[in-house]
């Protein structure tokens, strides 16, 4: 969405023209070298941290993924692509990828629809604005462990509120987190409750950017509320929806915290996300080499989804 702007501003406006105009001759050369040094002084702290904590682990991970390194310090022999071949034939890798993708699908839709409805309702200007924002957005600010504890309590099979409510309606209680296939849905419910507020705010901001004038003009032309919603509001939410979908998919693919916590540190073959398998392979199985290989498979998944999104996005642009 901002590629062009980013591209252009990457060079950025330069202030250096005034005091030390680039030119020729020894003084200009000294001045230019000085400018380089100053720029690097500004950059150095961030770049040092960037290289140490992003670039280096990123590259070292490639090496680790080709060794049989153990968390205990043992191993470390170079074994080529063995970890990758093992991972690709490991059923747990595939089931955890499947779970992750499934979670992304079933969480993204409600996370966008609920957010949109909330924003539209709040944007009608009904009294109590701060209360609505508090109710919808505050859960987003809570730590994952807090929300996991609350929802584990709600989903408690014998005492939890969820089953109590079901029983009032004469429905058999459900073992929310202890039943395969239902566990991932319970995790999704908790996640939607937790993070919908973020999308809600993005939608609300976009809604408030639509000039009132457009509504007034439509009203003059005799367009009712519904007509305005479908002809003015929703079409203009296209760009923000693209942002929300992109962000939401990438966020959902990184599922770990609540899935791991709500399963009480355990896991099931229908709920374990791929990040949790990295964790399990590395920190409970002590296999750092193997876990690194799974990390790169996960990274590849994210990149594939990212590329897919960009292709769809640019195709959309061309069609305009």
């Amino acid at each position: 969405m901002t590629d062009v702007a980013a591209e252009r501003s990457a060079i950025g406006p330069r202030a250096d023209v005034v005091p030390e105009a680039p030119g020729t001759g020894p003084t200009a050369k000294v001045a230019r070298r000085r400018n380089q040094l100053i720029a690097w002084a500004f950059l150095a702290p961030f770049m040092a941290a960037f290289v140490l904590f992003v670039i280096w682990p990123l590259m070292h991970g490639v090496y680790l993924s080709m060794t049989d390194q153990s968390l205990t310090g043992a191993g470390g022999r170079f074994i080529g692509l063995q970890n990758y071949t093992e991972a690709l034939s490991d059923p747990v890798v595939w089931s955890s990828i499947r779970n992750t993708v499934w979670f992304t699908v079933i969480s993204t839709v409600p996370l966008i629809l609920f957010a949109l409805v909330m924003a539209l309702l709040v944007n009608t200007g009904l009294p109590g604005q701060w209360l609505w924002r508090l109710a919808f957005f505050m859960p987003f600010l809570l730590a994952s462990t807090v929300i996991s504890q609350i929802w584990m309590w709600i989903f408690n099979p014998e005492l939890g509120a969820a089953n109590e409510i079901l029983q009032r309606f004469g429905i058999e209680p459900i073992a929310w987190l202890q039943t395969e296939h239902i566990d991932i849905i319970s995790i999704t419910i908790a996640t939607v409750w937790w993070t919908v507020g973020f999308n809600f705010l993005l939608y609300l901001a976009a809604l408030q950017n639509i000039p009132d004038l457009q509504y007034e003009a439509a009203a003059v032309d005799g367009a009712g509320r519904w007509r305005q919603l479908f002809s003015i509001t929703l079409p203009q939410l296209g760009p923000v929806t693209v942002v929300v979908v992109i962000l939401q998919m990438l966020a959902s693919l990184k599922l770990f915290d609540q899935a791991y916590q709500m399963m009480d540190g355990g896991s099931s073959d229908t709920s374990r996300p791929i990040v949790q398998y990295i964790f399990e392979a590395g920190f409970t199985g002590y296999r750092f080499g193997y876990a690194s290989a799974i990390s790169y498979i996960f990274f590849a998944l994210i990149v594939i989804v990212g590329i897919f999104q960009m292709t769809v996005l640019s195709r959309r642009r061309e069609n305009r």
């Binding site: 990457a10 202030a15 500004f42 950059l43 992003v54 991970g61 600010l141 730590a143 915290d257 994210i302």
Partner: protein, 300 residues
């Protein structure tokens, strides 16, 4: 991959704006009543889990363990669960750990990002474009994919179970650099030029002209970094095993198994951990909302 740098178009989000009623529209029109009912229902639905947690935390363990949907147990309200949790003492230590490590992470992150963003925005140096693209492209790298090599690195540096091991890997936030650079790009250059002509050094210009001008965006970004650091789970969970170095969210995870079926105490713990952020939200609601809407990126 700049598409993964989702910054919202510059919006002036006051969010509290109330769309005025259309002229001639009654405050109690059928449409408004329906909308109001829908809104109240959704808000209740979203508040209920927290209210339920609060109700449980104020019950006795026996009442909590007897189930049912009664908000108040048979033995009435009690702060017993909170007192037990507080008496145990770990909550204070972990609260302090969370507070100061999050504060340090925020200061370092915003500081180094602002310096780098200024260099990318205003200074000329070789490789500027390539470096900037590298930083932006790194946003696609999921932090979860780096935990194994990062942990290995911390082992090598002897930083496992130390505050620095907790803090340092969290200070690289490329989106912050991007946001601040965009902001600096928009600051009129004439202001700086005037000071430069008067002989002020780059650092001086940055410190006494650019930073004061950027106060609102620095504030918004800081609140965001702080919240993210406060709530971060995976990395602190991995790198800290010592109970006295744990942050609140990590501590909650470990007591979860320790308390077992002490439901009231578990809820009391969770609420105590949530309380600081609820207070922060109530105090800075406007800035947080604005910050999220303008910076437009989320961690979870």
């Amino acid at each position: 991959m700049s598409t993964s740098v989702p910054t919202m178009p510059e919006t002036d989000v006051t969010v509290s704006t109330r769309r005025p009623r259309k002229p001639g529209e009654s405050p109690f029109s059928a449409a408004r009543v329906v909308a109001f009912i829908a809104l109240v229902t959704m808000a209740l639905l979203w508040l209920l889990p927290i209210l339920w947690a609060v109700a449980t935390a104020f019950k006795t363990e026996t009442d909590a363990a007897s189930g049912g949907l009664n908000p108040i147990g048979e033995s009435g309200l009690t702060t017993q669960a909170f007192r037990t949790v507080l008496d145990e003492g770990n909550v204070y230590i972990r609260g302090l750990n969370s507070l100061w490590t999050s504060a340090v992470i925020t200061i370092i992150t915003v500081g180094i990002s602002a310096l780098a963003a200024y260099a990318f925005s205003r200074l000329a140096f070789t490789g500027q474009k390539v470096l900037f693209i590298a930083v932006i492209a790194s946003i696609i790298v999921p932090p979860q994919a780096l935990i194994i090599p990062l942990y290995y690195q911390m082992l090598t540096f002897n930083m496992v179970d130390t505050y620095w091991g907790l803090i340092l890997p969290q200070v690289v936030m490329a989106p912050i650099v991007f946001i601040l650079k965009k902001f600096f790009d928009a600051v009129p250059i004439e202001l700086e030029d005037a000071a430069r002509v008067d002989g002020a050094s780059r650092l001086r210009v940055f410190w006494s002209i650019v930073l004061p001008l950027s106060r609102p965006i620095l504030g918004a970004v800081s609140i965001f970094v702080f919240i993210q650091a406060w709530n971060n789970f995976l990395w602190p969970f991995l790198v800290i095993n010592d109970t006295f170095l744990m942050t609140l969210p990590v501590g909650l995870q470990t007591v979860m198994s320790a308390y077992g079926i002490q439901y009231a105490q578990t809820m009391a713990q969770a609420l105590l951990a949530a309380l600081p952020l609820i207070v922060v939200f109530l105090l800075f609601q406007r800035q947080i909302v604005k910050g999220v809407a303008t910076t437009g990126f989320g961690g979870q």
